[in-house]
Amino acid sequence: LGDSAPLKEAMAVLQHHDAVSGTAKQNVVDDYAKQLAAAWGPCEVLMSNALAGLSHYKQNFSFCRELNISICPVSQKSERFRVTIYNPLGRKVDQMVRLPVSEGNFFVKDPNDKNVSSNVVIVPSSYSKTYQWELLFPASVPALGFSTYSVTKMSGRNEQVPSLLSRPRKPK
């Protein structure tokens, strides 16, 4: 059963400055995290129900909680996927989209099915040993609206390996 009330209540508790500033004991911090995590589940169900209702099509939606650390199974493992970008601002926004991907070449098409220039760039080795590449493409999104881009992975290895100039120096 979908329900947004637990998340609303958890967020209300997290309005307290202790939730973000470090001015709480560790067991209280753990409880903040627990309340948030517990509330998240039924809210995801609510979102899935709403999306199914709007699209008149029931399917399994998944929610990625790791995109902020550049982990995304959909973009990293799929050969073809779509990216819908919603702009909450009241004016058109041009934004560079970055998505973690596996090594390779990608074709990106805009909502009008026109090709969009894209690059696959290497991320710093210190970021992670499990992901190394990010797909980059410019997106244009209308005011208070959305744009859907499609991404297709081409076979073969990445031919757009960027020029990498390394200047290692010995520590003083």
Binding site: S21, T23, F81, L136
Partner: protein, 281 residues
């Protein structure tokens, strides 16, 4: 070459390849040039001293000395250049690195910093800052926003409504930065936008700093009764600073629009499968 450059049609950023540090930002549209050195430093957290037993802690920022220590005197750098983005990857230490990024058609520099886990085996609590040093004559003034709304003028060792007896030369000049902080010499303006609320200050003319991470070993005695110290290895924090150099005249229009775009950023949704033309029906 002695210098490395990343540039698009609006911005040019120059790096000293000897130190690996940013050394200059140019606004090509407005023909502005500003020497800027940016690097990471850390304040040694006070555990109390002769003047006061107050330790730096979760509630209290109290460095033991006015001068912060550099994380490193140089950074190992790599350069990545593609048609859409140019990046300089800077590695300051095992726990501090940064990507300075310039996208095609973008009018600001993006600094994506990663700090942590902060090492504390030396028994020194550390409060890490990113500092921008410029030759700008800022007359001891800088500006921070108040809750993302009003921009407030801040002056060294000064409060507008009472005579201040400054007892903390660093912390007493720190202010909340919710979305932006800037310095200006009346002609040009260096603005740094944050992706989260941080503490910030300008402790010297032409200098601007933001605290990015801290890890402390002593409780400050304000009620938590625990030091600000993550268990196990400690937290790693990643964030972004967006840097704008422009004339004072149009700075507000630029940082206001950019801050909106940062705070109300586009949301992404992914779906498996091929192209699916959107029909409003």
């Amino acid at each position: 070459s002695r210098v490395l450059v990343i540039e698009n049609e609006y911005i040019r950023a120059t790096f000293d390849s000897g130190t690996g540090f940013l050394m200059k930002i140019e606004n090509k549209e407005q023909n502005l040039s500003l020497p800027v050195s940016q690097s990471f430093f850390w304040y040694n957290a006070s555990v109390g001293d002769d003047k006061s037993s107050q330790a730096s802690g979760a509630y209290i920022f109290r460095p033991s000395a006015r001068k912060p220590l550099p994380v490193s005197h140089w950074a190992q750098i790599s350069l990545v250049k593609t048609a859409l983005v140019q990046e300089v990857h800077q590695n300051f230490s095992a726990w501090c690195f940064q990507v300075i990024r310039l996208y095609k058609d973008q009018r600001h520099l993006e600094l994506e910093w990663t700090v942590g886990p902060i090492p504390v085996k030396d028994d020194w609590g550390k409060e890490v800052i990113s500092r921008f040093d410029t030759p700008m004559k800022t007359k001891g003034q800088f500006f921070t926003d108040s809750n993302g709304r009003e921009i407030m003028k801040r002056r060294d060792n000064y409060r507008p409504t009472w005579t201040l007896n400054q007892t903390e030369p660093v912390a007493g000049n720190y202010y909340p930065v919710n979305t932006r902080i800037y310095i200006t010499d009346g002609q040009m303006q260096l603005t740094v936008l944050t992706d989260r609320s941080q503490g910030g200050s300008s402790l010297q003319n032409g200098s601007l700093e933001l605290m990015v991470h801290r890890r402390l070993l002593v409780d400050d005695g304000r009620g938590v009764m625990e030091p600000l110290l993550e268990t196990d290895t400690g937290d790693k924090v990643r964030g972004r600073h967006l840097v704008l150099l422009s004339s004072v005249r149009d700075a507000a229009a630029r940082h206001r629009l950019l801050a909106e775009q940062e705070v109300l950023a586009p949301q992404l949704m992914l779906a498996l499968g091929g192209s699916s033309p959107y029909h409003s029906q």
